[in-house]
Structures are given as C-alpha cells and as structure tokens.
C-alpha cells in the first residue's frame, strides 16, 4: 500500500476554494490511512512547476496534482516514473502510456445550478433589493477558458428559468484584489443587476461585501461562502476537490484503481453542487428552494442536459 502522498499545485493555498479544498482531502488521508503527505506550492511561477513536480515525484508513491499550465511537464515526468501513481485534478492530461489518471469536474453543471438560482431570484421582485429588470451578473477573475466555462453554464441555467434573462460579466483581471472585485460588483449592481455569481477567488470576497453594502445578492464559489454575508449570499457553487481525492485514494487502497482512468464528476457524484443551508432559507422561501432542488434532480437524472463549454 502507498505510504507517501504528495500534493502539487500550480498556485498557492489560501484561495479558499479548490486548492484549499484539495488540501483538506490530503490532510484527511493522513488521518484515515496513516500516510505521510507533503505539499508543494508553485505560487503561479511557471519556473517552479518542473522542479517542484520532479521533487514530489521522486519522493512520493502517489502524486495528486493540480496542473493548470504544466500539463506537458506532468506528462514527461510521469513517463519517468511509470510505476508511481499520478492523479491529475481539474484538467485532463492524456499520456500515451496511460499512466496519469484524471479527475474532471463538470463545472458547467454546478454553474448551471447557480444560474438557475440567480435566474429565479432576479424574477422574485417581492424580495428586498430585487428590481424588475431581468438582469444578472458574474464577476470573473481572469478571462480564461475555465472561467468562461463557468459563465457558460451559468447562462444556460438562467436562460432555462427565463430565456429573457441577460447575464452581464466583468472580468477583473486579477485573482487577489478584493477592492477591485467590489468595484466591479458595484458597477454591475448600478447597472440593474441584482444577483452576482463571483468566480474570482480572493477578488470575489469584494463582490460579497458589495452585495452586503448595497443590499443585493451574491452567489459564492468553490467552498461554502454563505456565512460571509448572511442574508446576501444565497448559495455557493461547490467544487469538492477534497472529496474527489479521498474517492480516488480509496480506490487505490482497494486495488480497484486503474492508471489512465478519466473520472468525470458532476452533480450526480456530488463533486459539484450547491451549498444550501440555513442562510439560503433565510433568504428564499421553502417552495423556491424546493423548485431549485427539483431542477437539480432533473439535471442529475438527465432530463435536462447541460452543454459543456469545450466540445
């Protein structure tokens, strides 16, 4: 059985979203399976990708890696260590020798649900702060493929509720400037938007504070941010990186793990989804939440198909 597990990430912990969530999963492995774990953060510095991954691969039996931006390095290093286990999370890296397994989250399904919530809320003019305009917003960190796929699902969800709903998006251009995040959100609110989905890591913290300040609504991302501004964060779209790590590691222990597998995880696997808790009920009446959960069930059962961004 594997004894040493490494967790290599392109960014750094503290995003209060998927890197952190993954690290929680890793910490749980330590407890549950009595393995030694180590963390390597690359702090978005591409010159560290290769040496960090290399260092981790030489030491560990199992490497969990979030490889945004160094998929090629991952491939070449994995080929140097064909007997070790490489699990790549959140992107898909295919190598010819089928050494690397991938965990792919279907974020579109999660953000579809966020869009459904936003769409429903913007039409509920009886709620405080909601105007009759059918306008919702999103604040993205960078304008890149991942964020655009979030927006893509979000838009589908809103349009599913009411095809007339429009989505306004601002890409702030940085992941760690909550001040700019708040500015962007205030602008969207001043344009008649009443719900904003933040997809911007630390920048997004400013979006939530903006919602609180002007009495409008926000939707959190990646981890449960509902408690950050009670009464203003309706829900959060979760991405359970930690759980997926546990899930794969269990298979490794069981012996059911096969290298080169593609785990596609969506609503059904509870890898993505909405955080619905007392804060949600504080804002939305029960029947509205029921309606939302109903739509979620339809998606899980395949009655509604959510299109993926890259196909």
């Amino acid at each position: 059985a594997p004894k040493k597990v490494a967790y290599v990430i392109n960014g750094s912990l503290g995003d209060q979203s998927f890197y952190d969530s993954g690290y929680e999963g890793i910490k749980k492995l330590e407890k549950d399976y009595d393995v030694e774990t180590k963390l390597m953060e690359c702090n978005f510095d591409p010159s560290l990708y290769y040496p960090n991954l290399m260092t981790a691969a030489r030491w560990a039996d199992v490497v969990f890696v979030i490889s945004y931006g160094f998929e090629e390095e991952l491939k070449s290093i994995a080929e140097m260590f064909p007997n070790k286990i490489f699990v790549n999370i959140d992107t898909v890296v295919e190598d010819d020798k089928k050494i690397i397994s991938n965990v792919d989250f279907i974020e579109e399904e999660g953000s579809f649900m966020a869009g459904v919530v936003a769409g429903i809320v913007t039409t509920m003019t009886e709620l405080p702060g909601i105007n009759p305009e059918k306008l919702i917003g999103a604040v993205g960190g960078d304008d890149d493929i991942v964020i655009r796929s979030f927006v893509y699902g979000y838009d589908q969800g809103a349009k599913y509720v009411d095809p007339e709903i429009q989505v306004k998006t601002i890409y702030v251009g940085t992941w760690d400037d909550p001040v700019k995040g708040k500015q962007a959100a205030l602008q969207l609110y001043s344009q008649g938007v009443d719900v904003i989905f933040q997809i911007a890591s630390l920048t997004g913290a400013g979006v939530i504070q903006a919602a609180q300040e002007v009495g409008k609504y926000a939707i959190g991302v990646d981890s449960n941010q509902n408690s950050l501004a009670p009464g203003h964060v309706i829900t959060s779209m979760l991405k359970e990186v930690g759980k997926s790590i546990e899930f794969v590691f269990k298979q490794i222990i069981d012996g059911t793990y096969k290298p080169g597998t593609l785990y596609k995880l969506g609503l059904k696997e509870e890898a993505v989804g909405l955080a619905i808790d007392e804060y949600t009920y504080q804002i939305l009446p029960n029947e509205t939440v029921e309606k939302i959960l109903g739509i979620q069930k339809d998606v899980i059962e395949g009655k509604i198909t959510v299109k993926e961004y890259r196909e």
């Binding site: 180590k38 390597m40 010159s47 960090n52 260092t55 960078d142 890149d144 251009g173």
Partner: protein, 351 residues
C-alpha cells in the same frame, strides 16, 4: 581586482546574512542546520541540484546585466519585466509559425525576439528623446501594458484551444534547446551574451560612451558623444537582453510556450541583482548564480523542512538587504578605521 573586492565583501555579507537567516529559521521553529542542509542539497548537493541552480540563473544573468548596463549609463530602464515577456511571447509565436529548420530557426528566433524586446524598450527611449519624458515612468507603465497585452494575445488570437490557462501553442520540437543531463544549453547562451556584453561595454567605443554618460552626461556630451543616440542604443541593447531572456525561457525552459505568469519575477530580480552587483557585469552574474541557488535550494527547504514559501521570501529579502548593507558598512567603516590609524600614526610622529 575591484570586482573581486566587490564579490569578497559580498561574500562576507552572504555569510552574515545566512547567520541572521539561521536565527530567523530558529525563531520560526525549525532547525537551521537541517534547513541549510536542504538548501545545500537542493542547490548544490548533486548534479541535478547544480544544474537547477544554473538553469534558474539563466534569465537572471540576462535581465541583471540589462539593468546593470542601463543603470551604469544613467538610463533608468525599469522595463525589464515588460521587455522580457514581450520577448517571450515573440519567441513562442515565432517558434510555432517560423518555417525555418533547426538551428537556423533557433538562431532567428533568439535574435528576432531580442530585437522585438529592444524595440519595445526603445518606445521609452523615443519618448525621452523627443519629448523628454521620464524613462523610469514610461518603462514602468510599459511593464503593465506588456503584461496585459501579452495575456490578451495569449487569451484570444493565439490561444491554444487545448490549454486550460491563457497560453499559446507549443513551439516546434526542433526549436527546443537541448539539455545536457538537465543543464539546459540556454545557460551557455546567457554566459556567452554576458561575455559579449562585457566586451561591448569595455572595448567598444559605444560602450565607453555609455559608461561616461553614466558618470557625467554633461561631460560626455561636451566631449563629443551623442548622448541622445547613446540613450537609444542603451535602451535598445538592454531591451534586447531582456527580450533574449524571454526567448530563452521559451526555447530552453520546460514550458516551450508562452503561458500566463512565465515572466515571474525575473525582470524585477534582475534589477535587484544589478544593484547588489553594483552594476558590474561579472558581479551581477555572480549574484545571479547565487540567487539561482537560493531559488533551487528554497524548493528543498520548503519540501524537506516544510518551511513555508512566504518565509523563504522573507529570508531572501533579508539576505539581499544584508549582503548590500554589509558591503557598504565594510567599506565605509573600513575607510574610517584606516583614517583613524593614519591619524594616530601622524600625530605620534609629531610628538
């Protein structure tokens, strides 16, 4: 002799700062001995470590020399970061689209990317020449603009559709600079360029004029040097070096394509190193190697001893500050001591 002196006082500074660093590590609750062993193991301990150190230092040597030449010519070019990524993006695009074979292609890419970096720097030069616009400010602003411009290009027109982050397509395999047992050949190119730069500054009339302009621009102008033209050349050449650093990152690094963040801190580190190296080409190169070592060894400290990366940043800042302050202290108080003893001798002789 003078540069040896600078390096020697630098080494005193390094030793002193490592001692202070040990204290910091101790306070943070780790064993300095184990931490420094990891630093050594990952930075110098094996062939792999040594080559990592050298690979790390490759772009730093170039941006460091760029800053050193600019500053010693009294040209405040703080635009290395921007010039570097412009060069990197150019290399990535050329590497994908250029139809030339192998070595011809590589040479073309390297030179063209350098030239593009040089032109980017020349924008600030032209502004200065025509409108007397402060080049420190314009280069600073051009850094931000280069940042967003390259990301725009890598996000829209030249995006590799398969990538998850803003990135261009990978360059052709034949343009990859080969590695010899993990040591990338781009290191040798950097060393070669360092030698050429030394030669230019030392033996070329232009280089002499640049230096004199750095010492006293009024003097060089009245002496018959065309300062305005020299400013343009300095801007171009230092931009060329930074652009070259960017190209080597693409051809010789591990990514082989332009990707968001690829410039990292090379530009700023280069500016810092030129100051640490007192604008000397050899001194700056020496400290670039040292910084490459710190970076490679930092990975070890983080991995083996779990010293957090932000702490390593604090350590690096401390080391840089102490290296330079120790050096200025040694020379300042050294001179005072000499004066003191001389006085005693003279006074005694009179009694």
């Amino acid at each position: 002799m003078k540069s040896l002196n600078k390096i020697l006082t630098g080494i005193i500074g390094i030793v002193f700062s490592l001692l202070v660093g040990a204290l910091l590590i101790k306070i943070q609750g780790n064993s300095p001995i184990i931490a420094y062993k990891a630093l050594y193991d990952y930075g110098l301990g094996s062939w792999f470590s040594i080559t990592s150190t050298l690979n790390n230092s490759t772009p730093l040597i170039l941006t460091g020399i760029a800053a050193a030449i600019a500053f010693s010519s009294n040209v405040n070019n703080l635009g290395q970061p921007g010039q570097l990524i412009i060069g990197a993006l150019s290399a990535a695009l050329l590497g994908y689209y250029l139809p030339f074979p192998g070595w011809i292609g590589i040479t073309t890419i390297i030179i063209l990317s350098g030239i593009i970096g040089g032109f980017y720097a020349s924008i600030a030069g032209v502004f200065k020449k025509l409108y007397k616009m402060d080049e420190m400010l314009t280069t600073l602003m051009l850094n931000f603009i280069a940042d967003y411009l390259t990301i725009y290009l890598a996000t829209y027109p030249f995006l590799d559709k398969k990538s998850y982050v803003p990135a261009t397509k990978m360059i052709k395999k034949e343009f990859f600079l080969p590695s010899f047992k993990n040591l990338n050949s781009s290191f040798f190119i950097a060393i070669l360029i360092a030698l050429i730069s030394y030669f230019i500054v030392k033996y070329l009339k232009k280089g002499y004029e640049w230096r004199m302009m750095g010492y006293n621009p009024d003097f060089s102008r009245i002496g018959g040097c065309d300062n305005e033209q020299n400013l343009m050349w300095v801007m171009f050449y230092t931009g060329f070096l930074s652009g070259l650093a960017g190209a080597l990152l693409i051809l010789g690094g591990t990514q082989h394509r332009f990707i968001k963040g690829i410039g990292a801190n090379y530009g700023w580190d280069g500016i810092m190193l030129s100051i640490v190296g007192a604008n000397g080409i050899f001194e700056t190169s020496f400290f670039s190697l040292f910084f490459g070592f710190l970076k490679a060894g930092g990975v070890g400290m983080e991995f083996e001893v779990s010293i957090p990366s932000e702490f390593i940043m604090v350590l690096q800042a401390t080391i840089v500050l102490l290296v330079v302050s120790t050096r200025s202290l040694v020379s300042f108080y050294g001179d005072k001591m000499k004066a003191y003893f001389k006085t005693r001798k003279v006074v005694k002789a009179h009694e």
